[in-house]
């Protein structure tokens, strides 16, 4: 192998994607994937804090067993708002649309996504959907829960159900187009020499995610469309009184919404693979296995949705099949965790802010994944179904997994996106606060669920109070932990140190261009002639 010299500083580039133009129009009509990624970053942050506000209100209310902070209708609207905003408008677009959009074309050495106009359209669909949902919330909201179970959502619920469903429907197409764009970009836009075996694992993970987006989202779109039709037209597609079947909705809904969990967590896994490799200064252990396990999760994830329906009156045989297949998601997930851990072995490890998020992710994802076994196993599923155990489990995956991954990724690529370094101490402190706050919030919920507290309860028996108080206390800490990065990252935009092209001495094409990158990403078309993560070829770097 040829020795590779990583320059201390890349040639100074005067023009970058941020300073080519400043007017509003050049942002709102931009076709540059980097700018679209930044637009997404701003808007998902907005939705995250709106959803987070709802979460804090819920936790405050649940600090006491009685209904005292708000009325029950309000509480129900609040948890629906929390679920809808977080799932559809933060977790699903967070990593693919922000980091994926910004990084994938650069990582594959392309000038842009394959379809820049469709990319912009995705953001507008997302914003249209989001605005419609916000309007539906401002004008009274809805209380169906983000799962929209029929016949409650189609016949009984009052509130702006139709409006919210239309918003989610439109947003769904934004998600589909993002997925389509990523797939085509990865297939067709790779730089010379960049074979599949050399792709960064972040690209692999987002590719797998995009397959789910393209193949799953249309099913939930048509399903929610049918709920709209039923509400508008008064026909009985899911209404038993008119011959419909409410369980059919659950099948169609979970066909997408279970794989949607992998839409959320797979890209985070991709981020973690990048961070672990960079801050251990080693090629990721078992690269092929980590790459293929992403595709395996995406595929097997489509075969397991029935475990959301073990107590719904599904047939026993159906339940058996779905339970059996559910365990097969555990295998590729376990493979990833073991490979990440093995990467640390004999590495050269730095506890930087992104690395702290990454290591936190591994721990929390391990707990989240293993508690998934309780949900996949028929015997235990019955007892914990629809209790706080489930809440705790999926928050370990979605918050402990996706949000840790997202924050880790934002901290890792922030210098690339903005050209500035943030305050490392502040970053580390907030990572620790997030980790501790998270565990205090959600660990008690495992016990709470096992002793029987059902989800979506506004008031509850007194004996559950202690655990709820712990959880609420944790939530305030967690909320604080999430606000900190908002502050110091924004502060860094003006006051942070200039990052230079490669502040982490990382490998990957995105680090071979300037920070922020030029409008077309590279001044010269890159050619790749080595595998990803060739850290062992670097000269040892001082701490």
């Amino acid at each position: 192998m040829t020795a590779i010299n990583y320059p201390e500083s890349a040639p100074v580039v005067e023009e970058n994607y941020l300073n080519v133009s400043y007017d509003v129009k050049s942002w709102l009509l931009t076709l540059d994937h980097k700018r679209i990624g930044v637009l997404y970053m701003i808007t998902v942050t907005l939705f995250f804090f709106l959803g987070g506000f709802a979460a804090i209100m819920l936790r405050l209310e649940l600090a006491t067993p009685k209904a005292d902070l708000m009325q029950t209708e309000m509480y129900n609207r609040m948890f629906t708002m929390h679920g809808v905003l977080m799932v559809f408008f933060f977790l699903i677009p967070a990593i693919p649309s922000v980091l994926g959009n910004f990084l994938i074309p650069i990582m594959v050495g392309a000038k842009d996504m394959a379809f820049p106009r469709i990319n912009l359209l995705s953001w507008y669909l997302y914003m249209t959907g989001g605005t419609i949902v916000l309007v539906s919330i401002i004008f009274g909201g809805l209380d169906t829960g983000w799962t929209f179970y029929t016949p409650y959502s189609s016949q009984f619920a009052i509130g702006n159900v139709i409006l919210a469903l239309v918003g989610i429907f439109i947003n769904g197409f934004g998600s589909i187009f993002t997925g389509l764009n990523i797939i085509v970009t990865v297939h067709k836009m790779r730089a010379p020499g960049l074979t599949w075996g050399r792709l960064p694992l972040f690209v692999w993970a987002n590719y797998a995610t995009s397959l789910i987006m393209v193949l799953g989202t249309p099913v939930v779109a048509i399903t929610l469309g049918l709920v709209v039709v039923e509400r508008l037209w008064g026909v009985g597609i899911f209404d038993y009184r008119l011959g419909g079947d409410p369980i059919l909705f659950q099948h169609l809904f979970w066909f997408y919404s279970h794989p949607a969990v992998y839409i959320m967590v797979l890209p985070a896994m991709g981020v973690i693979s990048e961070l672990i490799a960079c801050f251990s200064r080693r090629r990721i252990f078992g690269y092929e296995f980590v790459a293929i396990s992403s595709l395996a999760i995406a595929f097997v994830g489509f075969l397991v949705w029935g475990h959301h329906m073990f107590v719904s009156g599904q047939s026993i045989y159906g339940a058996m099949i779905f339970s059996f297949l559910s365990f097969f998601v555990a295998i590729p997930s376990a493979v990833k965790v073991f490979n990440w851990t093995a990467t640390l072995y004999k590495g050269s490890i730095v506890w930087s802010t992104p690395m702290m998020y990454a290591l936190g992710f591994i721990g929390l994802f391990t707990v989240g994944g293993l508690t998934g076994l309780f949900c996949a196993s028929l015997g235990t599923n019955i007892h914990i179904h629809d209790t706080y155990f489930i809440i705790a489990h999926f928050h370990y995956i979605m918050v402990g997994g996706t949000i840790m991954g997202y924050l880790g990724g934002i901290h890792f690529w922030w210098p690339k996106i903005t050209g500035r370094l943030y305050n490392e101490t502040a970053g580390k402190v907030s990572a620790v606060i997030v980790f501790l706050g998270f565990n205090l919030t959600f660990f008690p919920q495992f016990i709470l669920g096992y002793v029987g507290m059902p989800r979506r309860y506004h008031f509850y028996p007194e004996e559950f109070q202690l655990l709820n108080v712990m959880s609420s206390a944790g939530a305030t800490i967690l909320g604080f932990g999430y606000l900190m990065p908002l502050v110091y990252l924004i502060w860094s935009l003006r006051h942070g140190k200039i990052a230079g092209p490669n502040p982490w001495q990382a490998t990957g094409l995105e680090w071979e261009t300037s920070s922020p990158p030029p409008p077309e990403n590279f001044l010269e078309k890159p050619v790749v002639n080595h595998e990803a993560y060739n850290y062992h070829e670097q000269e040892p770097t001082p701490n």
Binding site: Y149, P246, V311, G313, Y450
Partner: protein, 324 residues
Amino acid sequence: MDKGFRFIPEQASEAASQVDALTLFLTLLTAFFTILIAALIIYFSWKYRRKSEVRPAETKTNYTLEIAWTVIPLIISMVIFVWGAKVFVHMKRVPEGAMEIYVVGRQWMWKVQHPEGRREINEIHVPRGRPVVLTITSEDVIHSVGIPAFRFKMDAVPGKYTQQWFTATKTGEYHLFCDQYCGTQHAGMVGKVIVMEPGEYEAWLNGVKADDTPLGSGKALFDAYGCAVCHSAQAPSMSGLYGRKERVADGGTGKIEDVQVNDEYLRRSILDPNDQLAVAPDGKPYARGIMPSFRGRLTEEQLISIIAYIKSLKNTPAQREVVP
């Protein structure tokens, strides 16, 4: 009900210990792997912390390891699958001669009917030591019968019957929850499962123990039937109602008139709630069919007690109002 803090709910059914055994196994497994991974992460990141003179080792694919940590989790998860499926099948296969109790969910109460015809609301009395199968359905949206102490849960799906069985092993009172979100008062759709000795259960089936005073038993009935769940948010409040003039709409013609709230009115409203519908503050009558008829479910004595209790309710400002 034990109000203390606990890690697992009481084991009050025959299935509970089976579920808990599997849970214990899974918990130990989770703890083992979590601690293993955490320990490795901490150890590695201390042992291999960055030192400027050390070059990290080149990564080589180790197929033995990869295969090992693919196959071992596979074996473990198949063990869990078989174990879980066994427990599940046991919970689903209703034994011969199980006593059948019907449970009907509706927004927001449980209506229960015993084989001998006795009905109750938000309470399920069951004998200890005898298999009981609950046949469950719903009148409106999907609910879910959840009894944590029995590790029991089954959805109440409108338009179809679902079944699951249990054998209670310990006398006492246990929580009955609605576990599937069903609308505004979902959290209020709770009740009790009361496990009695078989002899007591027989006696209970045959009669009701009256409380000492009409007022006391009236309050007890008002609570037990969950009246307050609706009559605080979705339906007119009972506070200060007695003796007032109330605006009502005729259930058939919709004609609106004012009536004096007296014993007779209250009695009619409990027995045939849909004949006259109270008018909400926004000028529209409350919806038909929300409140079930209590005809045949309350004895005359019980009716008198409830009316006595409603009479006693003075106007208190603590009542919540309906959200427009």
